[in-house]
């Protein structure tokens, strides 16, 4: 799928997200929208998956370490056919398997996440398993930027470089914000690129909303002997003009008026499943 088509579909998934969150009355709108172009590029243009056979051994692995961005993840899994899109109606409803963080009872979800700082370690294990098994699949881990304060991420960063896991790609949704404000005011991350380089990773920075640049990055990964880190610069709540860049939307649901304003901004008529 080409970059333009992916960008168009990404806005449809954004419409899914705000609809899910509006119906549920709660959800992590900001981070789900900032990471949506990255997720869309992965699911529509990069990952080698079989939705009808979710445990196919040679599938690429994807982990949503920033588990609170689950809405976009579920919208993509549904659209790719891992489960019926109508099930998105049950998001965050009592007893649903579509809960507020990824849960591997849902087809396509590899492992439960939600507590921050876990995903990269699991990704190191997957990538190392592939190396030891001479398997060709790649492992991709999407992390938040606020999440990088967790020490276990840096344990995993050391291990990934130690084992020269060039089949592992860590992606940072660098939206600059976390729940209390800017990452730099909460606990400073910069120079983030230098930190990952110092840990032995092959680091690239890109616009996390430029589907063409993202596609080119994932398809062009060449460096051998080092794991890859993409610092994807994004805007929190991307696509909702009234919420973009506002930390209050980290965990906030739109009302009915905002939902329709969102559809208009996204140039989407609505969602068929709702």
């Amino acid at each position: 799928m080409n970059a333009g088509e992916i960008a168009r579909l990404a806005n449809h998934r954004r419409a899914d997200v705000i609809t899910m969150v509006q119906r549920a009355g709660n959800g992590h709108t900001g981070g789900a929208l900032s990471s949506l172009d990255i997720l869309s590029v992965l699911y529509y243009g990069v990952l080698n998956l079989r939705p009808s056979e979710p445990n196919w051994p040679n599938r690429d692995r994807f982990l949503l370490s920033k588990g609170h961005s689950v809405e976009g993840y579920l919208a993509l899994l549904a659209d790719c056919g891992f489960f019926p899109v109508e099930e998105l109606r049950t998001f965050s409803q009592a007893g649903s398997r579509l809960i507020g963080h990824p849960n591997n009872k849902v087809p396509g979800v590899e492992i439960c996440t939600g507590a921050l700082g876990h995903g990269l370690s699991v990704g190191v294990g997957m990538a190392l398993g592939a190396k030891r098994g001479r398997d060709a699949f790649r492992t991709y881990v999407l992390m938040g930027d606020g999440e990088l304060a967790e020490g276990s991420i840096w344990e995993a960063a050391m291990a990934g470089a130690h084992y020269m896991l060039d089949n592992l790609v860590a992606i940072i949704d660098r939206n600059g914000l976390q729940i209390s404000g800017s990452t730099e005011s909460v606990i400073a991350l910069e120079d983030l690129s230098a930190k990952w380089r110092a840990f032995g990773w092959d680091v690239t920075e890109a616009d996390g909303h430029d589907t063409s640049a993202l596609l080119a990055y994932f398809h062009g990964l060449q460096t051998k002997g080092r794991p890859h880190c993409l610092i994807a610069h994004t805007v929190k709540s991307k696509g909702l003009p009234f919420a973009e860049g506002d930390p209050a939307w980290h965990h906030k649901a739109p009302n009915a008026d905002q939902l329709h304003a969102g559809y208009t901004a996204l140039n989407v008529e609505g969602v068929a499943w709702a």
Binding site: P57, E110, C112, G125, D135, G151, S152, E155, M158
Partner: protein, 326 residues
């Protein structure tokens, strides 16, 4: 009486199995020495993963390996895995149902002289409260060997805690072993003694002492703390008096599990013997056990006291407390 270290029996068995099954992996956290994995690492480097001193990361890596079809055994000190990485155990392993075995070595007060930082005496309480996790404390080397063979074909997350030093054999070689099925080692109608881990041998010795006083004891090896073999405990309560013995804080371990079951299904006079809820006395594990009365003599005395007071209110009891010193 022969003696062997459970961790050595574990590693020997794992190496033997791993030679035939390339999916069996051992992971260490700079714990090759303490887990006796040096030979495994040399002989089977493609099945060995060194994670460095990073227990949280190691559990995550194990979960990732399991996702790719490997069967990881992660081996290192019980005190660190059970606490430092308990959230990874809860989410990456138990919640996610990852096929990973945690082998916590040098558990309890194996590192008795090193202080509370190195005591693993709350691990059972923590691990038992994690849904989906099986919890096992083998009694000796022979049982550890049987357990290890069982774990290699068992699917699902398991926490195993074993000690460091050599312990007397309770079992002959190749004993029958079923996860979740306790072993009744001796039958007697006066009192039931239920133990786990290294306390099982002491408890068998206790029964001999009691028999010299005309008291016949049932002795049960409750090697699996979760899922608990409820039937065997309810049967054992027929004696009218139950004593639990464990190398663990008196809160949340074997005694608590038994008491919780009996209080709801078959209220029974009971004593919970274990390590008191305090910063523990330090010394070799034998010295710590002696200090707190976790010896055949101490356990026998507690059993006799329980039989004396069984018509009164059951007294909350811990070896080493004031109740013990009379």
């Amino acid at each position: 009486m022969s003696k062997q270290s459970a961790r050595i029996a574990f590693t020997r068995t794992l190496s033997m199995l791993a030679r035939k099954d390339p999916r069996l992996f051992a992971l260490a956290t700079d714990s090759r020495g303490s887990a006796a994995l040096d030979d495994f690492a040399r002989e089977l480097p493609e099945q060995f993963v060194e994670c460095g001193i990073a227990e949280q990361n190691a559990i995550g890596i194990a979960a990732g390996l399991a996702n790719t079809g490997k069967k990881p055994f992660i081996c290192g000190p019980a005190c660190f895995y059970s606490l430092r990485s308990s959230e990874q155990i809860k989410i990456d392993l138990a919640y996610s149902n990852s096929n990973v075995k945690i082998i916590g070595v040098s558990g309890g007060v194996s590192y008795g002289a090193l202080g509370a930082s190195h005591h693993a005496t709350q691990d059972v309480a923590l691990m038992r409260a994690i849904p989906g996790l099986t919890v096992v404390l083998p009694a000796d080397g022979n049982q550890t060997e049987a357990l290890t063979r069982g774990l290699a074909s068992h699917i699902g997350p398991v926490y195993v805690r074993m000690g460091r030093g050599e312990v007397p054999d309770v079992y002959e070689k190749d004993p029958p072993f079923t996860l979740g099925k306790a072993n009744v080692l001796r039958r007697g109608s006066d009192v039931s003694l239920i133990a786990c881990g290294e306390m099982v041998y002491f408890t068998l010795e206790t029964a001999k002492l009691l028999a010299q006083n005309g008291i016949e004891a049932t002795v049960i090896d409750m090697h699996t703390l979760k899922p608990l073999d409820e039937e065997v405990i309810l049967d054992a309560a027929a004696a009218g008096a139950v004593v639990s013995i464990e190398e663990h804080n008196i809160h949340g371990g074997l005694g608590s599990a038994i008491a919780s079951l009996l209080a709801q299904r078959r209220p029974t006079f009971m004593r919970i013997l274990g390590l008191p809820d305090e910063v523990l006395y330090t010394g070799t594990s034998a010295q710590v056990f002696n200090h707190y009365g976790l010896t055949p003599q101490g356990i026998a005395q507690a059993a006799k006291e329980l039989l004396k007071v069984r018509k009164d209110e059951p007294v909350y009891y811990c070896a080493g407390s004031e109740h013990f010193s009379q």
